[in-house]
C-alpha cells in the first residue's frame, strides 16, 4: 500500500511538473467546466482551473506527500492499521488537490471541509486523551472557517454563479463583495492559524510526525494563504487587508518569541511554521501575492524536511520529544544532522539555500516600499527571532554535550527514512533558485542603501549570538525564566490565547447549561410533561377503578336516573 501510493503520487508529481513547465513557458491556462444542474437562475458547475500556479502547487503537494508516505512506511511500521493511515493521508491529498484546482466556491468548500475533517481524523490518530483534546481544538477552529465559506456561498448567490474568479474585475466596489472579502479573510485566518485562531497549530502536534510533516507544514496551513492569493485581486484595496497585515505581523512576532521558550521539539517546529505563515500572510497583505506564493513553496520544502528529521530523532530517543534530553547528536547521526542543519539554515535565510531567495526578497521588498515603522521593525525583529530559536535548537540538539538518557538507540542507517529525506533535501537546496527563475519572468527592481541592505545580516548575526548564549546550559546556570515568571509565562504560553479560545469561551456556556439541565430537564419539565402527566392519569384510573367496583344495582339505577333527569330537564 505504501509503495503503491508512493509511486502513484511521484508519477503524478512528474506529470504536474511537465505540465507546469509547458504552461508557464507558453502562458497557458486551461479551464474545464461541467454543469451539473441548473435551476432558477443558479447553476451548479464543477470546474477545474489549471494554470501555472495550481500546477506548481499540485506538484509540490504531491512530491511532499509521496515522500511522506514513503517515510511513514518505516516510521509507522509498528502500526497495526497502517492501511487506514495511508488511506487517510491519500484522502487528505485528494481534498487538497480539489481545493487547489477549483475556481468554484462549491468545490473549494468540498476541499476545505475535507481538509478540516481529515486533519481531525489524523490528529486523533493516536487515541489518547491529549490527542482527543488536540483534535477537538483543531476541528473546531477549522470549523469556523467552514462556516465562513458557507456564508460566502450564500452571499455569492447574489451574482448568479459560484465561479468567483470572473467577478473580480467587475464587482470590486460592490457591498456584497465587501462582506465576502471580510468572510474570506476570516476563513483564511482560521485555516492558517493567525492571531485569534492560532492555538490549534501547536496543539495539533499530537498527531503522528508524518502527518505533521505533510499537513501542518505545507498543505493544510497553506490552504488559507492559497485562497487569499486566489482572491487577491478583490482584496487588494480593502480595509480588511490592513487588519490582516496587523494580525499576521503580530502572529509572526508572537510565535517567534514563544518558540524561544519551548522545550518540545515538535512544538518549536510548529511555532516556527506559525511564524513563517505570519510572514506569508503579511507579505500577501502588503500586496505581493507572487512573493507570498514563492515563500509558501520553499517553506513547504524545508519545513517538511525539518519535521521528518525531527521524527527520526524522536524515534532514536525512544519517543522523547524534549530537547533537554538531547545533545551532541551531530557526532553520531551525520546524515540526519545534515538534513536538519540544511533545513534549519534554509529557514534562517542563509544565502543561496532555498529559504534565502524567498525570505530575502520579502525583506527587501518591505524595505524598498515605504511602509509603517512598526511593520518594518516587526519584520526584521521576527527574522532575528527566527535565527535565534533556530540556533538555540541547533545548539541544544546538535552541539551541546550529550545528556545521557537511560535508553537510546542512535540509529542513522534507516535508509527508507533517509531516502525520503534526501529527496526533500535536494529540493530544499535547489527549489529556491529553480522557482525564482520560473515564477519571476523579470526580477524585481530593488535599490537600497548599504546598511539597509545588510540589515538582514546584522539581525541574523545578532540572533545567532543570542541563540548561542541562551543555550549554554550547565549545572550551575541560574534559571532566569523563573526570576521573571509572569512575563515569561505570558510570552511562553502564546500570550494566553489558547486559554482564551478554549476555556474562556466555553466556561460560561457550560455553567449555564448545567443550571438549565438541572432545573428544567430534570426539574420542572418532569413535573409538567414527563412523570407528572403519568401520575395524573394513573390517579384518574385508580379513581375510576374504585368507582367501577360497585353493586350491579347501581348500574341499573344510574341508567334510570339518567332517564329521569332527561325527562325532568326536557318536560319541565
Amino acid at each position: 500500500m505504501c509503495f503503491n501510493s508512493f509511486f502513484f503520487l511521484f508519477f503524478f508529481m512528474l506529470i504536474n511538473f511537465f505540465f507546469f513547465v509547458y504552461f508557464i513557458m507558453n502562458g497557458l491556462s486551461v479551464f474545464f467546466e461541467w454543469e451539473i444542474i441548473s435551476f432558477n437562475s443558479m447553476s451548479i458547475v464543477m470546474s477545474i482551473l489549471l494554470d501555472w500556479m495550481s500546477l506548481l502547487f499540485m506538484m509540490f503537494v504531491s512530491l511532499i506527500s509521496s515522500v511522506v508516505i514513503f517515510y511513514s512506511k518505516s516510521y509507522m511500521n509498528s502500526e497495526l492499521n497502517l492501511n487506514r493511515f495511508i488511506i487517510l493521508v491519500l484522502m487528505f491529498v485528494f481534498s487538497m488537490v480539489l481545493l487547489i484546482i477549483s475556481p468554484n466556491l462549491i468545490s473549494i468548500l468540498l476541499g476545505w471541509d475535507g481538509l478540516g475533517l481529515i486533519s481531525y481524523c489524523l490528529v486523533i490518530y493516536y487515541q489518547n486523551l491529549k490527542s482527543y483534546n488536540a483534535g477537538m481544538l483543531t476541528a473546531l477552529s477549522n470549523r469556523i472557517g467552514d462556516v465562513m465559506i458557507l456564508m460566502i456561498i450564500c452571499w455569492v448567490m447574489n451574482y448568479g454563479s459560484w465561479n468567483y474568479i470572473f467577478y473580480f474585475d467587475f464587482m470590486k466596489n460592490d457591498y456584497v463583495m465587501f462582506i465576502i472579502s471580510f468572510m474570506i479573510i476570516i476563513a483564511a485566518m482560521t485555516k492558517s492559524a493567525q492571531i485569534p485562531f492560532s492555538s490549534w497549530l501547536p496543539a495539533a502536534m499530537a498527531a503522528p510526525t508524518p502527518v505533521s510533516a505533510l499537513v501542518h507544514s505545507s498543505t493544510l496551513v497553506t490552504a488559507g494563504v492559497y485562497l487569499l492569493i486566489r482572491f487577491n485581486y478583490l482584496l487588494i484595496d480593502m480595509f480588511f487587508f490592513k487588519v490582516l497585515l496587523f494580525l499576521s505581523i503580530l502572529t509572526m512576532f508572537m510565535s517567534g518569541i514563544s518558540a524561544n521558550y519551548e522545550f518540545d521539539l515538535k512544538k518549536i517546529i510548529a511555532l516556527s511554521t506559525l511564524s513563517q505563515l505570519g510572514l506569508m500572510m503579511s507579505i500577501l497583505s502588503l500586496g505581493f501575492p507572487d512573493i507570498a506564493f514563492f515563500h509558501l513553496l520553499t517553506h513547504a520544502m524545508f519545513k517538511a524536511l525539518l519535521f521528518m528529521c525531527a521524527g527520526v530523532i524522536i524515534h532514536m530517543m525512544n519517543d522523547i520529544q524534549d530537547i533537554r534530553y538531547m545533545g551532541g547528536l551531530s557526532l553520531y547521526i551525520p546524515l540526519t544532522s545534515l538534513c536538519l542543519n540544511i533545513s534549519n539554515l534554509s529557514l534562517c535565510g542563509i544565502p543561496f539555500l532555498s529559504g534565502f531567495y524567498s525570505k530575502d526578497l520579502i525583506l527587501e521588498m518591505v524595505s524598498f516600499n515605504s511602509f509603517n515603522l512598526m511593520v518594518f521593525i516587526l519584520f526584521y525583529l521576527s527574522t532575528g527571532l527566527t535565527v535565534f530559536y533556530t540556533f538555540r535548537l541547533i545548539m541544544y540538539v546538535m552541539i551541546n554535550d550529550f545528556n545521557l538518557m537511560m535508553i537510546y538507540n542512535l540509529y542513522d542507517e534507516d535508509y527508507i527514512m533517509l531516502n525520503s529525506m534526501f529527496v526533500l533535501l535536494f529540493m530544499s537546496l535547489l527549489s529556491g533558485s529553480f522557482l525564482s527563475w520560473f515564477i519571476f519572468s523579470y526580477p524585481y527592481m530593488i535599490y537600497l542603501p548599504f546598511n539597509l541592505k545588510l540589515m538582514v545580516i546584522y539581525v541574523s548575526i545578532l540572533g545567532s549570538i543570542l541563540g548561542f548564549m541562551v543555550s549554554n546550559m550547565g549545572i550551575y546556570s541560574l534559571n532566569k525564566l523563573l526570576l521573571s515568571y509572569n512575563l515569561s509565562s505570558f510570552l511562553c504560553l502564546m500570550w494566553f490565547m489558547p486559554n482564551l479560545s478554549t476555556y474562556g469561551l466555553s466556561y460560561i456556556y457550560l455553567n449555564f447549561s448545567q443550571i438549565l439541565f438541572k432545573n428544567i430537564d430534570m426539574g420542572w419539565s418532569e413535573i409538567y410533561s414527563g412523570k407528572g402527566i403519568f401520575n395524573i392519569l394513573k390517579n384518574y384510573s385508580v379513581f375510576y377503578n374504585i368507582y367501577q367496583m360497585n353493586n350491579f344495582k347501581i348500574y341499573l339505577f344510574s341508567f334510570i336516573l339518567w332517564f329521569m333527569i332527561l325527562f325532568i330537564f326536557f318536560f319541565i
Binding site: L537, S541, F570
Partner: protein, 334 residues
C-alpha cells in the same frame, strides 16, 4: 347442557336476529330483532356448571332488557308525539341512550367490563363484535349529532383511562373496545360505508388477538411474560397489539387515518385532539405490556412448552395480514 348442536342453533338465531333488526322498515321490527338477539345470546353464555358464568348471564340479561324496554317505550312515545317536532330532540336522545346501553358505550358502560370478565374468549369475541352490529346500525338511522359527540368524547376518555390500571386481559380488551366504540360512532356520523370498513377491520383485529389468547389459554397479563413462548407468537402479539392501538404501518392504522382525515377537513380540531391524546394513552399501555413480554427476561417455566406446532399457520397468516394489509390495500384500491 350446552353441547355443540345447541350452540349452533342459538348462533344461527343470533345471526338471524341481527339481520331482522337491521333490515326491517319499522321500528318495531328493530326492537323485535334486539329482543331475539338478547334471548339467543343468553343460552350461549350461560353454563350451568359454572357459577360465574350464570351470574354473568344474569347481569347481561338485566341490563340488556332494561335497555330494550326503554327503546320500546321511546319508539311508542315517538309514534304518538310525531306531530310535535320540538320533541324530536329528546326522543332521539332517549333512543340513542338506550342503544348506547345496549352496546356498552359510555356513560352506560359499567356492566361491560364486569361481564367481559366472566365470559370465555369466544363468547367475548361474540360480545365485542357481533352484538355491536345491530345497535350501531339502528343508531345510524336516527341519531342526535351533539349528543353523540359528547358521548364519543366520554367513550374515548373512559376507554383510555380505565384501561390504565388493569391486569386482566379481558378487561383490557373491554376498555379498548369502549375506546374503539368512540371511533366507530363517529364513523357512523360520517358515512355507513366507513363504519362498515372500520367495523370489519376492528373485528378482524379482535379476532386475531382473541384467537391467540384462546389458543394459549391466557386470561391475565402475568401469563404473557412467559419467556419460552415461540418467537413468532410473541411477534404476533406485538404486531396485533400495536395494530389495535392504531400504529402505522399496521392494519389498524387505516380506518383511524381515514377518520382523522375527515375530522381535519371538516375542521373538528378539538375532537381531533381528544382522539389523538386518548390513542396515545392506549398505545402507552399496550407498549408497556409488549416490551415487558417481548424483551425482558421475566418468567421462565420449564414444564410449559408453548411451541404450538399444529397451529402455526393461523398465527403466521394473521401476522402477515396485520403488517401488510394497509400497504397492499393501496395497491388494490388506488
Amino acid at each position: 347442557m350446552n353441547n355443540n348442536s345447541n350452540k349452533m342453533f342459538f348462533l344461527f338465531i343470533l345471526f338471524f336476529s341481527t339481520l331482522i333488526s337491521i333490515s326491517s322498515n319499522s321500528w318495531f321490527g328493530c326492537w323485535i330483532g334486539l329482543e331475539i338477539n338478547l334471548l339467543s345470546f343468553i343460552p350461549l353464555i350461560s353454563n350451568s356448571k359454572n357459577l360465574l358464568s350464570v351470574e354473568t348471564s344474569l347481569k347481561y340479561f338485566l341490563t340488556q332488557s332494561l335497555a330494550s324496554i326503554n327503546f320500546l317505550f321511546m319508539i311508542l312515545i315517538k309514534f304518538s308525539l310525531l306531530k310535535n317536532f320540538n320533541m324530536n330532540n329528546i326522543i332521539s336522545i332517549m333512543m340513542n341512550s338506550s342503544l348506547l346501553m345496549k352496546m356498552g358505550s359510555a356513560p352506560f358502560h359499567f356492566w361491560f367490563p364486569n361481564i367481559v370478565e366472566g365470559l370465555s374468549w369466544m363468547n367475548n369475541f361474540m360480545l365485542m363484535t357481533w352484538q355491536k352490529i345491530s345497535p350501531m346500525i339502528l343508531l345510524s338511522y336516527y341519531f342526535n349529532k351533539n349528543f353523540l359527540i359528547f358521548m364519543i368524547i366520554m367513550n374515548l376518555i373512559i376507554g383510555s383511562l380505565g384501561g390504565l390500571n388493569q391486569t386482566s386481559l379481558r378487561k383490557l380488551l373491554a376498555f379498548s373496545s369502549i375506546n374503539n366504540l368512540g371511533w366507530m360512532i363517529f364513523s357512523i356520523m360520517i358515512s355507513e360505508n366507513l363504519w362498515l370498513f372500520y367495523f370489519l377491520i376492528y373485528s378482524m383485529m379482535i379476532f386475531m388477538m382473541i384467537s391467540l389468547f384462546f389458543l394459549m389459554n391466557m386470561y391475565f397479563m402475568n401469563q404473557l411474560f412467559i419467556n419460552n413462548m415461540n418467537f413468532f407468537i410473541k411477534l404476533n402479539l406485538l404486531i396485533n397489539f400495536l395494530s389495535l392501538g392504531g400504529l402505522p404501518p399496521f392494519m389498524g392504522f387505516m380506518p383511524k387515518w381515514i377518520i382523522i382525515n375527515f375530522l381535519l377537513i371538516n375542521k373538528f380540531y378539538f375532537l381531533t385532539f381528544i382522539f389523538m391524546m386518548t390513542s396515545l394513552i392506549i398505545i402507552y399501555y399496550y407498549i408497556r405490556i409488549i416490551y415487558s413480554s417481548f424483551m425482558f427476561n421475566y418468567f421462565k417455566m420449564k414444564w410449559v412448552n408453548l411451541l404450538m406446532k399444529n397451529n402455526m399457520s393461523l398465527i403466521n397468516l394473521s401476522s402477515f395480514i396485520s403488517i401488510s394489509s394497509m400497504i397492499l390495500s393501496t395497491f388494490i384500491f388506488m
